[in-house]
């Protein structure tokens, strides 16, 4: 059968040869309702070079796209910018098939790839700032450790003014369009923000340093070619400014109220808190973990100033849905948040104290006294919830006025 897949030209010497995963819905706990792409790129230099590969089941699709341009056996070099399996899963098989002269990764990348696939001794480490001649053009490598794994690096192709940015500026969005300028800006912003919140957020201080490091190189970048989602070839400043905004995590006049409920008591409290916040002029997002995915919560927290969490007590603990989202949020390290806890209980009532411990461990500043109620809240308790909301609102207004 004739190969059905084609490469897409990105710049004078670069082709997209990745794969579109229309059906993936879970990335290690991050839900991806719109699928994803695994982007690999072919540099048609004197020494033909493949930048990253794809997730293992998609190897044939990548090879098919490469074949539309050149016999894969002509590939001389393979660069692994990021060792995670969605970009390296088929690397050992591709090395066997293509038999490249050399395979390169960062110093940490060579270690990681050996730990993932074992016996990868032919992979050569490149250092930060090192260059590789492809004959008629040159690649420059830049370490970007912890954006978002220790092995991560960028590769710059000066000839085409193109930065292979691996997971930076990426998103999980399966589209037939290959370029960001072919897609609606609102969707791009939503998908890029969701990706940032679920993947990059804990490393925000490093993102700001990396952006400065790229600027300091003086590279005149015209294209960002990430490992997921569309390629940026117009108005790069737009996505750079969004990254700066998300990475700086300045407090905003927005509160996210996250709760789970058993018999709607904690829910009543959540509603009372939210109404009071909104009345005080705060933007509110109310999310029930009985219905909401953790990925959506962290997306909402990304541009929030307050995180208010509620849970009933179940068997001396918080509800498992709340334990899920608190574990996830703690790992993603949202910063500069104020918060409070609330919840209903039947007899022992540990949940609210437990939630406060979670918030403190996350370095969320407790800005209002917790509200806890035995069984169903009456009007006095709901008034206390409203007071909690007002107190958080006042503190948010004070903080955002100063920033």
């Amino acid at each position: 059968m004739k190969d059905i897949y084609s490469a897409v030209k990105v710049s004078d010497h670069v082709y997209w040869v990745g794969a579109i995963d229309w059906t993936i819905r879970d990335f290690h706990g991050y839900t991806t309702p719109h699928g994803s792409t695994y982007n690999a790129y072919l540099v048609m230099a004197d020494e033909i070079t493949l930048i990253d590969t794809v997730k293992a089941p998609f190897m044939d699709e990548m090879l098919s796209r490469i074949k539309s341009i050149v016999d894969p056996a002509q590939i001389k070099y393979i660069i692994s910018n990021h060792s995670e399996m969605d970009h390296s899963g088929c690397l050992p098989q591709v090395i066997d098939l293509v038999k490249p002269k050399k395979v390169f990764a960062s110093v940490m990348g060579t270690k990681t790839l050996n730990e993932l696939f074992h016996d990868q001794s032919e992979i050569t480490a490149v250092k930060d700032g090192e260059t590789l001649s492809l004959g008629n053009m040159e690649l420059t490598f830049m370490e970007t450790r912890m954006i978002h794994w220790p092995d991560s690096m960028f590769t710059y192709l000066a000839k085409d003014q193109l930065l292979f940015s691996q997971d930076a500026f990426g998103m999980h969005w399966a589209t037939q369009e290959r370029f960001a300028d072919e897609l609606p800006a609102a969707n791009l912003e939503y998908e890029a923000a969701t990706y940032y919140a679920n993947i990059v957020l804990p490393y925000s201080p490093i993102v700001l340093k990396a952006l400065d490091k790229v600027l300091a190189t003086g590279w005149d970048i015209k294209i960002f070619a990430p490992d997921h989602g569309p390629i940026w070839r117009k108005d790069l400043g737009w996505i750079i400014e969004l990254y700066k905004k998300w990475a700086s995590q300045k407090p905003t006049a927005k509160a996210v109220v996250v709760y789970a409920t058993m018999w709607h008591s904690t829910e009543k409290m959540a509603r009372a808190i939210s109404e009071a916040l909104a009345t005080a002029g705060i933007k509110v997002k109310l999310l029930s973990m009985n219905e909401t995915h953790r990925s959506e919560v962290v997306y909402e927290v990304l541009n929030a100033g307050a995180l208010i969490v509620g849970s009933p007590t179940l068997n001396n603990n918080i509800l498992p849905q709340m334990a899920d989202v608190m574990t996830y949020l703690k790992g993603l390290k949202p910063a500069n948040l104020i918060g409070a806890a609330f919840g209903s209980y039947g007899w022992s009532g540990e949940s609210v104290k437990d939630l406060e411990v979670w918030l403190k461990e996350m370095k969320v500043e407790i800005a209002a006294e917790a509200v806890s109620v035995k069984n169903v809240p009456d009007s006095d308790v709901l008034e206390k919830c409203a007071e909690l909301g007002k107190k958080i609102a006042a503190e948010l207004i004070r903080k955002t006025a100063n920033s």
């Binding site: 370490e143 450790r145 912890m146 220790p150 490093i206």
Partner: protein, 52 residues
């Protein structure tokens, strides 16, 4: 001698083990690490570390 944790990636510097990849001998206290020593996993500098 206390262990120190990297606030970026979670690596733990254990004075009893040192950091042989970067020429730090076993038994080196965290405060005696060179000023330009950085996390062997993620490259964060010493200021990102806190006692475990």
């Amino acid at each position: 001698m206390k262990k120190y944790v990297c606030g970026v990636c979670g690596y733990v510097y254990d004075p009893a083990k040192g950091d042989s990849d970067n020429g730090v001998a076993k038994g080196t206290d965290f405060k005696d690490l060179p000023a330009d020593w950085c996390c062997p996993i993620c490259g964060a500098d010493k200021s990102e570390f806190s006692p475990e």
